[in-house]
C-alpha cells in the first residue's frame, strides 16, 4: 500500500514534489502562489485523467464534466444546505461516480476518436442542462461561493492554505495513480488497452476493468473540481464544463507521457508556467496568446516525441536515480508460493463437452452440429482442410463466439458442469486458449505478459511473478523474460501465447496452430512443450496443419469438414479413412493410404509437412509442377 520510502525512486520523488510547496514559500509572492496552486490542481486533474486516457487508452475529451459536477455539487451544497465543501466534495464524487458508470457503460465499445466525440457530446449535454436549469444552478450567469472564511469552508485570506490543500489533493491523486499502476488492476488496464481479446482470454472482465478505471478517475477529478471551485470562489457553466479545460488536462498528460505515473504532472509543470507567464507578459498582444502556445506545443510534442517527456527521458532519469543509495537495509518481502493447483478429475474423465454446436454466418453454415468431448489427460487433435470451420469451433469452445444453438460445458471443481457466458468466464472456468495470430501485449515484457495470465488466481504481484517464472521454464522462455514482446520472433511469440494461457492454470488448453510458420527446430521445441504440458496434467485440444506434429502428439484426432465432424479416432484410423483423404485431396486419391504400397504419392499424402492443399485440383497442379 505504501511505496518503500527507503528506495531512491521514492525519496527522490518526494523531495522533488516538496519543491511544489518550498518554491512558492521562498518567493512568497501572490502570483507564484497562484501559479503553484494551478500546477497542483492541473497536475492532479491530468493524473486522474491519465487513469482513463493513459492506462485504459480511452481518449476522454469530456473529463471536465466530472470537474464541473464536483464544483457545482460542493458549491450548491454550501449555498443551499450550509454543508462544508469537505463533505460536499464526497457527495459530488458520488454523483460523478454514478455519472461515470452511466457514461462509460454504453460507450465501452467505442475507441479512439469516437469515444472522444461521445465524451465531448456528453459534456455539452450536461453543460446545456445546467444552463437550462437556471432556477437552481444559477444558469449561465454562474454562482458565487459564500465567503465564509475558515478551514471548514475551504476559504482563506492567505494563499498558503490553498496551496497546502491543493498539494494534498495532488499527493493523494498521485498515490492512487501509483497504486493502480503497480497493482493487478493496472496490469489489466494495460492489457485491455493493448488487446481486448487477449485480455479476455486470460480471464480479464474487460467491461468491469474499464468501468472501475472510469469511476476512480471521475471521483478524483470531481474532488479536485470541488476544491478548485472554492479557490476560484465563482463558478459558471462555460468554465466548469469547458471543452478547453478537458483538452488542456489531456494535453498535459500526453506531453508528460501517457500511462506513466509521473508523466501528467511532469507535463503540467513544464507547460503550464510557460503559458501562464506568456499570458502575463504577452497580454498586450491579445487574449489568445497562451492558448496559441498550448496548441503549438501540443503539435510539436506529438510530432517530435509522441511518448512524451517520460517516454523520452524517463529511462535515463530512472537510471540516474537508481544509482543513489538505498536507505538502510531492505528486506525483500518473502514470496510464499501458493501455487494454485487445480484439482483434476481422474484420467480419462470427460472435462469439456461440446454438444450439437451450430453457428451460421449469413448463409454459411460454419459449424453444423459439432459435438466433441475432451477427456482429462489427453491430447485431442482437430484437423480439417482450410475453411473447414476449425477455428469457429475453437472460438465457441473458448466463448469468443456464441453458438446459435448447442452448448459448451466444462467440468467444475465441485463435480458439476459449468456453462460460462463470456470469454473471460471461460478462462476463469479453466479454459486457456492461444490465438492463431499471436496477440501479445506488445508494450509489456515477456515476464509481464505471462504475469497477466497468472493474475487470474492471485492478486499478489510477487506471487504472479513466481508463477510466471515457473511457466516460462515450462515453455522455454526463461531466457527471454526481460524482452519486450514486440521484439520477439514468431516462434517465441507462439510460445508466449502458450505460456500466457498456461499461467492461468487451466484445466484445458486450446492451442490454435501454435506450430504454423515455425522453423523445424522451433517445431521440435513446441512438440516437446505440448507433451510436457499434457504430462503436467492439462488436457490439450490442438488445431494444427502440421500433420506430422498432430499425428505424433494426438491421442485422438477429430476431423472437421464443411462445418461437420467427418470422423474421429486414433491417428492411425483417421489417416487411413477414405473420407478424410477425399476431404483433403479430392476424389481419386483414395488409394493414397499409408501402408497400402509405398508409392511416392502416398508418401506425400501423409508425410508432407503441411497439407495446405484445399482440393484435388491444387494437389494435382502441385504434382504436375
Amino acid at each position: 500500500m505504501i511505496p518503500n520510502l527507503r528506495h531512491p525512486r521514492t525519496y527522490v520523488s518526494l523531495l522533488v514534489l516538496s519543491l511544489l510547496v518550498l518554491v512558492p514559500l521562498a518567493f512568497n509572492s501572490p502570483f507564484v502562489y497562484h501559479l503553484f496552486v494551478l500546477i497542483c490542481v492541473y497536475g492532479a486533474l491530468a493524473t486522474a485523467w491519465n487513469l482513463v486516457g493513459g492506462y485504459a487508452g480511452q481518449m476522454s475529451l469530456g473529463h471536465a464534466v466530472f470537474y464541473g459536477v464536483g464544483s457545482y455539487t460542493a458549491v450548491l451544497m454550501t449555498i443551499n444546505f450550509g454543508v462544508s465543501p469537505w463533505i460536499g466534495m464526497f457527495v459530488g464524487a458520488a454523483v460523478s461516480a454514478v455519472l461515470a458508470v452511466a457514461i462509460s457503460y454504453p460507450t465501452l465499445r467505442l475507441r479512439g476518436p469516437f469515444f472522444a466525440l461521445v465524451t465531448i457530446a456528453m459534456l455539452e449535454v450536461v453543460k446545456l442542462l445546467v444552463v437550462h436549469q437556471g432556477n437552481w444552478t444559477g444558469g449561465s450567469a454562474g454562482l458565487s461561493v459564500p465567503l465564509n472564511i475558515g478551514l471548514p469552508w475551504m476559504i482563506f485570506r492567505e494563499k498558503l492554505p490553498y496551496l497546502l490543500i491543493a498539494f494534498g489533493f495532488l499527493l493523494a491523486t498521485l498515490w492512487v495513480a501509483w497504486y493502480v499502476r503497480q497493482s493487478r488492476l493496472g496490469f489489466y488496464l494495460v492489457a485491455v488497452r493493448e488487446r481486448e481479446d487477449a485480455a479476455q482470454a486470460v480471464g480479464v472482465n474487460t467491461t468491469r476493468v474499464k468501468i472501475i478505471a472510469a469511476v476512480i478517475s471521475a471521483i478524483l477529478t470531481s474532488m479536485v473540481g470541488s476544491f478548485h471551485a472554492m479557490y476560484l470562489t465563482f463558478i459558471e457553466p462555460s468554465a466548469a464544463f469547458s471543452l478547453e479545460l478537458s483538452i488542456q488536462v489531456a494535453m498535459f498528460a500526453l506531453i508528460g507521457g501517457l500511462g506513466s505515473v509521473a508523466g501528467p504532472l511532469a507535463g503540467t509543470v513544464l507547460v503550464l508556467p510557460v503559458a501562464e507567464l506568456a499570458r502575463g507578459w504577452l497580454s498586450s498582444l491579445g487574449s489568445g496568446t497562451h492558448g496559441f502556445i498550448y496548441g503549438v506545443i501540443l503539435v510539436v510534442v506529438v510530432l517530435t516525441m509522441p511518448r512524451g517527456i517520460v517516454g523520452q527521458f524517463g529511462n535515463r532519469v530512472r537510471g540516474l536515480v537508481d544509482r543513489l543509495p538505498r536507505l538502510g537495509t531492505i528486506t525483500e518481502p518473502k514470496v510464499t508460493s501458493q501455487l494454485h493447483h487445480v484439482a483434476r478429475p481422474p484420467q480419462g474423465e470427460p472435462i469439456l463437452k461440446a454438444e450439437h454446436l451450430k453457428k451460421n454466418f449469413g448463409g454459411l453454415k460454419a459449424t453444423d452440429d459439432v459435438s466433441l468431448t475432451l477427456h482429462s489427460g489427453e491430447i485431442l487433435g482437430v484437423i480439417g482442410p482450410n475453411g473447414a470451420g476449425k477455428t469457429t469451433v475453437f472460438n465457441q469452445l473458448s466463448g469468443f463466439i456464441r453458438p446459435d444453438s448447442g452448448s459448451v460445458t466444462i467440468a467444475g471443481d465441485g463435480g458439476g458442469w459449468l456453462s460460462p457466458a463470456s470469454p473471460n468466464a471461460f478462462a476463469r472456468a479453466g479454459v486457456g486458449r492461444t490465438f492463431q495470430i499471436a496477440q501479445p501485449f506488445s508494450g509489456l515484457s515477456v515476464l509481464e505478459n505471462i504475469m497477466l495470465g497468472a493474475f487470474m488466481h492471485t492478486k499478489s504481484r510477487a506471487e504472479a511473478e513466481q508463477i510466471a517464472r515457473e511457466v516460462a521454464d515450462l515453455t522455454d522462455l526463461s531466457a527471454l523474460l526481460g524482452t519486450e514482446a514486440k521484439s520477439m520472433t514468431v516462434g517465441g511469440l507462439k510460445r508466449l501465447e502458450v505460456a500466457r494461457a498456461l499461467a492461468t492454470r487451466p484445466k484445458v488448453l486450446l492451442l490454435d496452430e501454435v506450430m504454423a510458420g515455425l522453423n523445424p527446430s522451433d517445431v521440435e521445441k513446441a512438440i516437446a512443450m505440448v507433451r510436457r504440458i499434457r504430462d503436467s496434467g492439462v488436457s490439450v485440444l490442438l488445431i494444427e496443419h502440421l500433420m506430422q506434429a498432430t499425428m505424433a502428439l494426438s491421442d485422438r484426432i477429430l476431423v472437421i469438414h464443411t462445418g461437420q465432424v467427418l470422423t474421429s479416432g486414433s491417428p492411425q484410423e483417421v489417416v487411413t479413412n477414405t473420407e478424410v483423404i477425399q476431404a483433403y485431396l479430392g476424389k481419386g486419391y483414395e488409394s493414397a493410404k499409408p501402408g497400402a504400397g509405398g508409392s511416392e504419392r502416398q508418401d506425400r499424402a501423409t508425410k508432407t509437412d503441411a497439407i495446405r492443399v484445399q482440393d484435388g485440383k491444387g494437389y494435382q497442379s502441385a504434382q504436375s509442377a
Partner: protein, 290 residues
C-alpha cells in the same frame, strides 16, 4: 399549420448550411481515416478571409468563394503534409491530439489577430428574404442549400469518373492494396485533405452572408458537423447530406416545440445514441467506428 410548414422549410434550409460544412469533414474522414478536430477552425479561417475580402476589397462573399476555397485547399494540404502524414501510422489518440492541437492553435491565433469581436458582413444579396406564398425564405439560405446539393452531386461525379476520384476510393478501402496498384497514397491524402478543406472554404463564403464571424465560430459549427456526419455515417457523402437535413429539421422543430436552449441537447442525445447503437450511421452508409 403555417408555422409548421415554415419550420420545416427553415429546418431544411438550415440543413443545407450544416451539409455544406459537413461534406468536407466526411470526405476527409472517408479517405484519410482521420477525424479532423480542426475542421471548425478551417471554417473560421475561411470566414475571416471572406470578411477581409469584403471589408478591404469590397468583394461580395460569393465572389470570394473560389479564392477562399483555393486558399483553404492549400491550408488543408499543408496540415495533411506536415502534421497528419508523419502520424499516419501512429496510434489514433496521437492523431486526435495532433488535430486538437492544430485546432487550439488556430482558434487562438484567430483570437490574437482579430480579437474576440463579432464581425458581420452586410452583403446585400444573400441576407435579404423574400416571400414565397405564405413562406418567408432567406435568399442566402436557399443558395447555400442548392450549393450543398450541387456539391454532393459534383463530388459524386468526381469520385466516380476521374482518376483521382477513383484513387480516393481505392485508398479509402485499402491503403496498401491501393499503393500496390500504383496509387501515390501520400499524395492522394494531401489532395483529399485539401479538397475537404476547400469545401469548407466554399461553406465559409456561403455562410458569411448570414452568420457573423468570431474566433470560436468554428466550435459552434463543428460539433454539429460531427453530429451530422455520425448520423449519416462517417465517410458517406449522401449520409452527410441526409444527416444534415435531419439535424436541420430537429434543430428547427425542437427549438420551437421544446425549448430553444435545449435543441442542442436533443441532437447530441441522438448523436450519442447513434454512436452507441448504430455506429455505421442511420442508413448504415458509414464506415463504423472500429
Amino acid at each position: 399549420m403555417d408555422i409548421f410548414l415554415q419550420l420545416i422549410v427553415n429546418g431544411l434550409l438550415l440543413g443545407g448550411a450544416y451539409a455544406i460544412i459537413s461534406i468536407g469533414l466526411t470526405l476527409i474522414f472517408g479517405v484519410v481515416r482521420v477525424v479532423n478536430f480542426a475542421h471548425g477552425e478551417l471554417l473560421m479561417i475561411g470566414m475571416y478571409a471572406v470578411f477581409l475580402a469584403s471589408q478591404q476589397l469590397g468583394w461580395h462573399p460569393y465572389v470570394s468563394a473560389i479564392p477562399v476555397a483555393l486558399m483553404l485547399f492549400v491550408t488543408g494540404a499543408v496540415i495533411q503534409r506536415f502534421v497528419i502524414q508523419p502520424l499516419l501510422k501512429a496510434d489514433p489518440h496521437i492523431q486526435i491530439f495532433a488535430t486538437v492541437g492544430v485546432s487550439t492553435a488556430l482558434l487562438n491565433l484567430g483570437l490574437l489577430i482579430f480579437g474576440a469581436d463579432v464581425r458581420q458582413i452586410s452583403p446585400g444579396f444573400g441576407a435579404e428574404s423574400f416571400q414565397l406564398g405564405e413562406l418567408s425564405i432567406v435568399s442566402g439560405q436557399l443558395v447555400t442549400f442548392l450549393m450543398a446539393i450541387a456539391l454532393v452531386g459534383g463530388l459524386h461525379v468526381f469520385l466516380q469518373r476521374t482518376y483521382v476520384g477513383r484513387a480516393f476510393r481505392a485508398v479509402s478501402q485499402h491503403r496498401y492494396a491501393a499503393s500496390l496498384m500504383g496509387v501515390n497514397v501520400d499524395r492522394m491524402y494531401v489532395y483529399a485533405f485539401g479538397l475537404g478543406a476547400a469545401c469548407v472554404g466554399l461553406a465559409a463564403a456561403l455562410l458569411s452572408t448570414q452568420y457573423p464571424v468570431f474566433p470560436t465560430v468554428g466550435s459552434y459549427f463543428t460539433l454539429t458537423a460531427f453530429v451530422v456526419v455520425v448520423l449519416g455515417g462517417m465517410g458517406s457523402l449522401y449520409g452527410a447530406l441526409i444527416g444534415a437535413l435531419l439535424i436541420g429539421l430537429v434543430d428547427s422543430l425542437a427549438g420551437y416545440y421544446i425549448s430553444p436552449d435545449l435543441k442542442e441537447v436533443v441532437y447530441f442525445v441522438i448523436f450519442i445514441l447513434i454512436l452507441v447503437v448504430r455506429p455505421t450511421g442511420l442508413l448504415g452508409l458509414g464506415r463504423g467506428s472500429e
